[in-house]
Symmetry: C2
Subunit: 253 residues, 2 copies
């Protein structure tokens, strides 16, 4: 939803179809095979709803399933990792880059591999932060325990002297106000949700044929695989208003 909001802000005239797999969340603790299966079902659902561009708005799914989706579906597939890495490389002067994410994202090693592929001299320090997603989903955005847990997770990175920190999970922008002071205000904190929206905007400017094919009017539709209180509360927190969440079942796809 942080990605959907960033896209709406940067491309206010385009129609957006959102699917949140609330019923099977969190992906971060699932195996690669299961995540790939879910990602394929989710994408098929969005294409059936008329999507002309896919954004994998989840670092876990992107790290595990983006090559599969790019190979299997005939539309441009964006994900949140590449744009965040591009931005991190542009902003880092010391080439010491920190990455935080779910256990699955960090274990996939994708950030380190891609950063080092682009810039061999860069050093990447990764830290899995598996409790941050449940804390965000509980709405504990300012609790003392949340601050302590963030301190515990960031402690190793702080001592590595990173000058750039990638928020490698689309939940983490909601904790940016705690993460930034803890890692140090001199550190560039990269929000992958904003980064991918900027990349899609640039892509459309360079590909007018795709841009023209997109439905316009600024309508957004939000599908979820389960309507829960937490999904409602998170939506309200991110968008600052109530969203209409439409329940659908994508398991058959």
């Amino acid at each position: 939803m942080t990605v959907a909001k960033a896209v709406e802000q940067l491309l206010p005239d385009k129609n957006l179809v959102y699917f949140g797999d609330v019923a099977r969340t969190p992906y971060g603790s699932k195996s690669a095979a299961t995540i790939c299966r879910y990602a394929r079902q989710d994408t098929e659902f969005l294409l059936n709803k008329g999507a002309k561009i896919i954004i994998i708005a989840c670092n876990t799914a992107a790290s595990v399933a983006s090559d599969l989706l790019k190979a299997q579906f005939p539309v441009p597939v964006f994900e949140v990792i590449t744009p965040a890495i591009d931005k991190a490389l542009a902003e880092s002067a010391s080439n010491r880059i920190g990455v935080i994410g779910t256990r699955a994202t960090i274990k996939s090693n994708i950030y380190e591999a891609k950063i080092r592929e682009a810039r061999a001299e860069a050093r990447v320090f990764s830290q899995a932060c598996p409790l941050l997603v449940p804390l965000v989903e509980e709405g504990w955005l300012d609790k003392r325990e949340t601050k302590m847990i963030i301190r515990r997770y960031l402690h190793p990175l702080k001592h590595k002297g990173v000058d750039t920190l990638v928020l490698g999970c689309t939940h983490y922008p909601l904790l940016k106000h705690l993460i930034t002071p803890r890692i140090g205000r001199q550190v560039n904190v990269i929000d992958s949700s904003t980064a991918v929206a900027e990349m899609v905007k640039k892509y459309l400017q360079n590909h007018p044929e795709v841009d023209k094919a997109l439905a316009t009017g600024g309508e957004s539709t939000y599908y979820v695989s389960d309507v829960t209180d937490a999904a409602r509360v998170t939506a309200q927190r991110i968008f600052g208003r109530k969203l209409e969440l439409i329940q659908v079942d994508v398991e058959g796809n």
Copy 2:
């Protein structure tokens, strides 16, 4: 898995078929309709594997789906709620009973309703503790943050002067060593995993025809819908040894 272990200890000669829906966990944050669909698929899988008795070893599924499963399937269906309530009523002298569980279990109000049905003068104080499952699954069983979060959750119950506390989630026995001193050592802490195993044992003593139909030899088989590191680690923690986890897909059921 805490239930499987309690059953193995009390009925060491019976064969046990376990299914853990790791891929779609946690149920606690899902809607009732989704939980019912999953519970039906899970039960069908176990019956296909030859189960003659079903134990719903999850408070969330029990609170939402046990009536459905009892109505739909022709085998005895046990769940973790009734035995824990029976035990709590037997042990409480003040009739002030606390219940902790996931958001879905507490929201279902099933403990309060069933306790008051059995004993109208009882007072039930409930508290949802949604972060305890992720903390257990992370293995943060002795961290300072876990203690603080438990203190925050138990604070209201402590001030209600309960003399009995039901652990209304099968993950919570792994935190009993923190919960008991926090709520107060004079409080009876009821572990639903042990309570249901005791009830099944008693049932089999009273129903020799069912007892005889059960396969014996003391073999246990552990199926999961996803083999994750966390599932492996949790299994090892609970059983004190490595378990062979067999991956299966029950979505088609």
